[in-house]
Amino acid sequence: MTVTDAAAPPGPSGDGSGAPTAAAKPRPLAWLGSLGNSLVVPVLALVTALAIGGLVIIFSDPDTLDSWGGFFSHPGATLSDSWNIVYDSYKGLYTSSLGTQAAIGRTLVEATPLALAGLSVALAFRAGLFNIGATGQLIIGATCAGWVGFTWDLPKAIHLPLAVIAGFVGGALWGGIAGVLKARTGAHEVITTIMLNYISFYLLDYALRTDAFQRPGREDPISKAVAESARLPDVSFGDIVMHAGLFLALAAAVVVWWLLDRSTVGFRMRSVGANPFASRYAGMAIGGTYVLAMLIAGGLAGLAGATNILGRPSFSLTTRYYSFIGFDAIAVALLGRANPAGVLAAAFLFGVFRSGATGMQAATSTPVDIIVVIQALIILFVAAPALVRSIYRIRAGRGAGQTFTTSWGA
């Protein structure tokens, strides 16, 4: 039971990340080739980012940097010092994220909200919307799920599903606001979702100081803890311990894949995303599609928030922690090429970085911030595929950006 299995898509699936279309002759089993092709850039981006990250590690370590001062007298020692620090850092990263079963469990827990929020960004992206608002939708989702979780007192069979649904609905409504604003007034979703992020953050900050939310006896903004009956159950395979939110994320990925690639609703969303003019001529309601896409996207981000508060050990809301998930989700969606299977794989990778970062720091005193640098480099290379191709002298793949050809492959 690993998430990497999911990197092979459940079926040939499309890719809406509008790379330039290259003329391509379809071949039998073309989707296999195009799968390989669509993996080339992300994998090379990862390799390149790790290589550059290695250089940054060398230059951020004072001792190694000192040894470069004596490069001409002891070139061998300098190089081996450099090699060692990079090797130890990445080894620490690996050990504390994948090295033990307990570490894998932590990684999967980190990956869960990233996957859900990444699906949110990916789905909106396929409908032609850039959802920068996963953060806000996630905060509102967590707030709603949390409120249901610590306010009500119900049997577990009802309480947990209700709390999860509250998270979805809260996020959906929050995302829907941006959708309605876009459909009705043409307000650009990038602007509105960013603003809604601020609003949601300060709403939470305010709520956490009210009696309905704030934990009795505390002065700082922290909520009551979610009741036992609304907590996501722990799941363990051997020493891999995680919460059931992972299954929610996997199920959501399958649903999103089906919705986008097999349903009329997804057809409409992809159609509007790819060419709103032709979609309008074909009688599709553009505004309605935007609203629907933002509702679903918001709901997915809301689920991310819900799994977070209902699954992570503190079981309470604070104003910290949330913002990075929403932004990493954009990176996850980009790296996963707005494709559900790709998003799962990318979320797993970012989960590795998050859970391994502290271990790396403990092992080598390489600062945690290096991880942020590596993540940023990956995104840089993924967002600029031409850069990766020119580094590795790859010609534009014949499947690149062409995968709609296969999205219907039967």
Binding site: G16, G18, T21, A23, A24, K25, P26, R262, S263, T264, V265, F267, R268, R270, S271, A274, N275, F277, A278, S279, R280, Y281, A282, G283, M284, A285, G401, Q402, F404, T405, T406, S407, W408, G409, A410
Partner: protein, 518 residues
């Protein structure tokens, strides 16, 4: 500069844009390149300007071969081009725009503004191009912006100046001024290539005229040897006249009845000004007009893409004024849009997806939410076969098809469900002759099934080949509805040009004119 093009051939997928073109322009000469839209004029000039590379043929400048890989090479060789759409930075001044890219720089990389201004002022004085070097581009009228484009080319020492449809954007007084300027430009060593499809201008300004049609030079003449009539025949080319076999129409009851319709454009201008007409079942009504006379907005209003301001549209007796496109679709309206790349297709989607773009939510293509991919593919395979769409597979992306085959995909989709009314906007623009003939036969077949057809076309040949009745639109009004027998080329052409009906009858010469090709 003497410019010679020899045997230039340029092919695009599905189209031969230039087919062995020979052209020779002498120093001090204004050479007009005449041809209809899509005749290959712009492609030819883009080749000369280094934007495209020819598949065959060579270019000689003063006898020296030119191998331009980019416009920069062409400019260095002395070629200047003024595009139809200006390439100016709106917030920069005239002088800044003129020197952009070739700024005179001082010792420390500073821009020598004064020197640039001086040269711009000198040039504008010498050629009578009254322009203030300090003015900001966005404050200037279009005619003056064009002078800035000309100045740009002169500043770069252009010895062959290409003007691409320079009068298309100008008002009549500006055109007169431009004519004077062009004369002065062709002094001494410089040559001017003047691209146009307006006969009068060409006759007024050119020393030599070459006529291009379907990528070939079909005639070469001078203003003294020819007149408007002869040039028009040469340009349109009756030898490729599109003949469609069709029986006389047997029209039935009205399908579409438009009454006093008023439509505004995006800027709020009243561009359809009280239009009334009918389309009956089993007849083809052509809406003939020069581009930009309101026909685009009229068709948009009829197909639900643009709400009309007033008036009514009745479809099969029902008032459908202001209905959205999907309701009109269900009522039996099929529509082939004018801009097929933008409005007709989703390039990244497969051919099979595009063939069900407006029917995906209907049975048998889906049930509730679930798409039946087998049904979609089977449908696509049948239509591809029936409409002879040349594609590697129904799973190929629509963008990989040639223009003609893309249009066939749209035609197939729309004709499949067209059982009452078919609205076609410029259905064959830019297509090769084979595709045009195929599409024309399909349109007539639909008519014979009893479908009412409204054909919006600015191609006079197409109008005359297909129409049972011709409604001529000019400045947002229907200025005449003619039966096919009354609709001679001259009469429709004059109406399209805004001549009043009485005058048209007096001036229209009888019979078809002879083609004079030298």
């Amino acid at each position: 500069m003497k410019v010679e093009l020899r045997g230039i051939t340029k092919r695009f997928p599905g189209v031969v844009a230039c087919d062995g073109v020979d052209l020779s322009v002498d120093s001090g000469e204004v050479h007009a390149l005449l041809g209809e839209n899509g005749a290959g004029k712009s492609t030819l000039m883009n080749i000369l300007f280094g934007l495209y590379r020819p598949d065959e043929g060579e270019i000689l400048l003063d006898g020296q071969p030119l191998r331009a890989r980019s416009p920069a090479d062409a400019i260095a060789a002395g070629i200047g081009m003024v595009h139809q759409h200006f390439m100016l930075v709106p917030v920069f001044t005239v002088a800044e725009n003129v020197m952009l890219g070739v700024e005179p720089t001082g010792r420390f990389g500073t821009i020598e503004r004064h020197e640039a201004h001086q040269r711009v002022a000198d040039l504008s004085e010498r050629y009578g191009l009254a322009v203030d070097p300090e003015a900001t581009i966005e404050d200037l009228p279009v005619g003056v912006q064009q002078r800035v484009e000309i100045l740009k080319a002169l500043y770069r020492d252009a010895r062959c100046l290409i003007l691409d449809e320079p009068t298309a954007v100008l008002t009549p007084p500006e055109i007169t001024e431009l004519m004077g300027i062009v004369r002065q430009l062709a002094e001494g060593d410089r040559s001017v290539i003047f691209i146009s499809h307006k006969l009068r201008e060409v006759l007024a300004i050119a020393d030599e005229i070459s006529v291009l049609r379907n990528g070939k030079v079909v005639g070469h003449t001078t203003p003294d040897e020819t007149d408007e009539q002869a040039l028009a025949s040469m340009m349109v080319g009756h030898d490729v006249k599109l003949v469609v076999d069709k029986a006389p129409a047997t029209p039935g009851e009205p399908v579409l009845a438009v009454d006093n319709l008023v439509v505004g454009d995006d800027r709020g201008q009243r561009v359809v000004d009280g239009v009334s007409f009918e389309v009956r079942a089993g007849e083809i009504v052509a809406l003939a007009g020069v581009q930009g006379n309101g026909q685009t907005e009229l068709v948009e209003a009829l197909t639900g893409m643009r709400p009309p301001r007033s008036g009514s549209v009745r479809f099969d007796g029902r008032d459908v004024t202001g209905w959205p496109p999907d309701d009109l679709f269900r009522a039996g309206l099929a529509h082939v849009p004018e801009d097929r790349q933008r409005d007709g297709l989703i390039g990244s989607f497969t051919v099979s997806s595009n063939l069900v773009l407006n029917q995906i939510e209907e049975r048998p293509f889906s049930r509730r939410l679930r798409i039946d991919r087998g049904a979609v593919r089977k449908h696509a395979e049948e239509l591809v076969e029936q409409f002879d769409v040349r594609t590697a597979s129904v799973q190929s992306a629509a963008s990989t098809l040639s223009g003609g085959n893309q249009q066939k995909v749209i035609i197939a989709r729309e004709f499949f469900h067209a059982d009452r009314l078919l609205v076609l906007s410029q259905p064959t623009r830019g297509l090769d002759v084979g595709s045009i003939q195929y599409i024309h036969r399909q349109v007539v077949a639909k008519r014979d099934e009893g479908v009412g057809v409204l054909l919006n076309s600015s191609e006079l040949d197409e109008v005359l080949a297909l129409a049972d009745r011709v409604a001529v639109i000019y400045r947002g009004r229907i200025v005449g509805v003619l039966d096919r027998e009354e609709a001679s080329r001259e009469r429709v052409g004059l109406l399209m040009a805004g001549a009043v009906e009485e005058a048209a009858e007096v001036e229209a010469p009888a019979g078809e004119e002879e083609v004079t090709v030298t």
